[in-house]
Amino acid sequence: TMAFRHKNTRRIEGLDSNVWVEFTKVAADPSIVNLGQGLPDISPPSYVKEELAKAAAVDRLNQYTRGFGHPSLVKALSQVYERVCGRKIDPLTDILVTVGAYGSLFSTIQALIEEGDEVIIIEPFYDCYEPMVKMAGAKPVFIPLRYKNDGNSASSVDWVLDPAELANKFNSKTKAIILNTPHNPIGKVFTREELQVIADLCIKHDTLCISDEVYEWLVYKGNKHVKIATLPGMWERTITIGSAGKTYSVTGWKLGWSIGPQNLIKHLQVVHQNTLYTCPTPLQEALAQAFWIDYKRMDDPDCYFYSLSRELESKRDRMAQLLQEAGLKPVIPDGGYFMIVDVSALNVDLSDVDEKQPYDYKFVKWMIRSK
């Protein structure tokens, strides 16, 4: 018999390893306290579950809906975001519903990025940005957030971009910059001034902005989430990505959305119609109803968008306290639900661990196994 000649395509060469696949396996043992993967272990609000039950009981809602987004959902999204952005958003042309924010990132990158392009990614970054850019044949260009205070960082606000260093990363090949605010993993909430620096460069170099804002509602006291798409000159070049999973604590619903100008969204829609065509119907209907409930109370502090944030803020403070009592130095996040902590004070010697991995990888595995 002939040798089997079939291997993977060039586009996925080197993209097979994935930190989550590795670490979720290690943490899967139920005796382990899992503060690793980013998902809530608290229940979503009961009205969200009720709306899903109601949707599933309607025969028609168990069949295909509109490919680019269930009508009642895109309508609800347009209303919520019109209010937030202060501009008209057309539900049919300016919105695409996707399989999670992950699906939005993929659709955006596949639609607008190709070989010969460069894409600026701010480090540290949500890990999928790099392989997605590579799969599109483009070159990722990294720029770090740097400590402002010589390593004595206590807050996510202390991690900043150097404007001159950032400006240097832009050139004629720069197709897009990926922004993530509030930021995973640091929890940084970019200020208006910081966003203006990025916006100025995008406008000067005619660069697109892919703005991952999945944690948009999770901002803590003293901070405000600013949408870069609302800065002058930015709407026409920005795709803003949101997530039901993070908004309603239903990561397992895998619904997200991309919002932007029609002349960009239409290309995302083409990718979508050639990749999975439509997202699940009952989940979209339930999400739409949940959005209407909260849209109606956006002036009320009981709105889930604000109440969840308050709930998480007290958990953030509790976690920070626990870590400080253990002699560790957490970086208090201004947003998101992640906290990073410097563990060097623990002085765990892992020099005898053979694996060729960074210290923090080895530390985490050691911590899971022995603690």
Partner: protein, 437 residues
């Protein structure tokens, strides 16, 4: 301040903003026809979905999953497939294929069969690869091959005249073996097989599958086997899985769909089954595109399959009852169409049937030099003027071949009795208008 735009910026501004991989993939028949049906149709036999609900046992599983004590079912599950689902799929398909399947490496769950197809093309088709597509085909195969940089190579099913005034069957549409063989070249990476076939309803026979398999083995070509309608076969016919033929398991990816299996197209749960050396690459695409599929529906589908495994082959099995019900509906629609002079091609499987509308051509005059195929204009006229939605057969042909079979339209008969009766009323009225002076 400078008032001129730099040359490099000019160059960027003059380039289209979208990526080249989208070239030729932007048109989509469904966007147009779904809108038309929504606007005009009184009876929608167009897009392929049932207008009856999923079975009660499945709906109950879904409600149990979403409201049960385990609220973690609203959070991420395993990326390559919710463990209870991949386990039961491995068990179920292992039994059908006579093989020991590993749920972790031989099965991957996707967002509908549609995303399974996408993963296959992205994982396995490179620029310059050829992919053989049998016409008529489910329309997404072509743009997906193009987006992967591949070249689609088409080979038609050709109708043979039926015997003595009998109605044509989907079995009468066949591949010419020599023609098929001529399509294989050193650049051929894969062939896409769809059996039972959408839109014709053809259920490929063992001999036909052996012909395809022989060529795959000879030329070392992969087989992407879209078997979403695997349970919808009629008249005692058998759905044969090409992966079970000699030399095929190692080179085949089987694609399935909960939407079609359990009449829940809106759940968008699909799967791939195949050897690890192919599925590993599908996993790479999946983890870099959608990563996870929604949890609750996977949990419910797993329970559905558990039930079906226990009832396999028994009269209460949904996989026995559904085709039985659909066969009756098929026969009903065949009769309706035949009675008015539309000539149905009796499908051996799926819930689609294609009918020859030549006798109704006088209603929609030909427009010479029209860009649009005749059947497309006919279908649009029909939904606007008769309120009956169907899909033109040319939608399932490549651009160059859209006028080869342009007097056929496709009906979906997975509809309640009342819907089929309403369709019959429209057809009868239409016939009367044609024959009355």
């Amino acid at each position: 301040q400078t008032h001129f735009v730099s040359l490099s910026l000019q160059a960027k501004m003059s380039r289209p903003v979208q990526a080249r991989r989208l070239e030729g993939t932007d048109k989509n028949i469904w966007v147009e026809f779904v809108k038309l049906a929504a606007t005009y149709s009184k009876v929608n036999l167009g897009q392929g979905f049932p207008d009856f609900p999923p079975p009660d046992f499945l709906k109950e599983s879904f409600v149990r999953a979403l409201s049960g004590e385990n609220h973690m079912l609203h959070q991420y599950t395993r990326a390559f497939g919710h463990p209870p689902l991949v386990k039961i799929l491995a068990q179920f398909f292992g039994k059908l294929l006579g093989r020991d399947l590993d749920p972790m490496t031989n099965v991957m769950v996707t967002v509908g069969a549609y995303q399974a197809l996408f993963c296959c093309f992205q994982a396995l088709v490179d620029e310059g690869d050829e992919v053989i597509i049998i016409e008529p085909f489910f329309d997404c195969y072509e743009p997906m091959v193009k987006m992967a940089g591949g070249t689609p190579v088409f080979v038609p099913l050709r109708p043979k005249a039926p015997k003595d005034g009998k109605l044509m069957s989907s079995a009468d549409w066949q591949l010419d073996p020599a023609e098929l063989a001529s399509k294989f070249s050193e650049r051929t990476k894969a062939i896409v097989l769809n059996s039972p076939n959408n839109p014709l309803g053809k259920v490929f026979s063992r001999e036909e599958l052996e012909l395809i398999a022989g060529l795959c083995v000879k030329h070392d070509v992969l087989c992407l086997s879209d078997e979403v309608y695997e349970w919808l076969v009629y008249d005692g016919k058998e759905h044969i899985r090409i992966a079970s033929l000699r030399g095929m398991w190692d080179r085949t990816v089987i694609i399935g769909s909960a939407g079609k299996t359990f009449s829940a197209t809106g759940w968008k749960v699909g799967w791939t089954v195949g050897p690890n050396r192919l599925l590993q690459h599908l996993r790479t695409v999946h983890q870099n595109s959608v990563y996870h599929c929604a949890t609750v529906a996977q949990e419910a589908v797993a329970q559905g399959f558990q039930r079906e495994l226990e009832l396999y082959g028994k009269p209460d099995s949904y996989f026995v009852q559904l085709p039985k019900e659909l066969q009756q509906k098929r026969d009903w629609l065949v009769q309706s169409l035949d009675a008015v002079g539309m000539k149905p091609i009796i499908p051996e499987g799926t819930y689609f049937l294609v009918a020859d509308i030549s006798k109704f051509k006088s209603d929609v005059p030909d427009v010479p030099d029209s860009d649009e195929p005749y059947d497309s204009r006919f279908a649009k006229w029909m939904v606007k003027n008769k309120g009956l939605a169907a899909i033109p057969l040319s939608a399932f042909y490549s651009g160059a071949h859209k006028n080869n079979y342009n007097h056929f339209i496709r009906f979906c008969f997975a509809k309640e009795e009342a819907t089929l009766k309403a369709a019959n009323d429209i057809l009868q009225k239409w016939k009367k208008e044609k024959t009355s002076p």
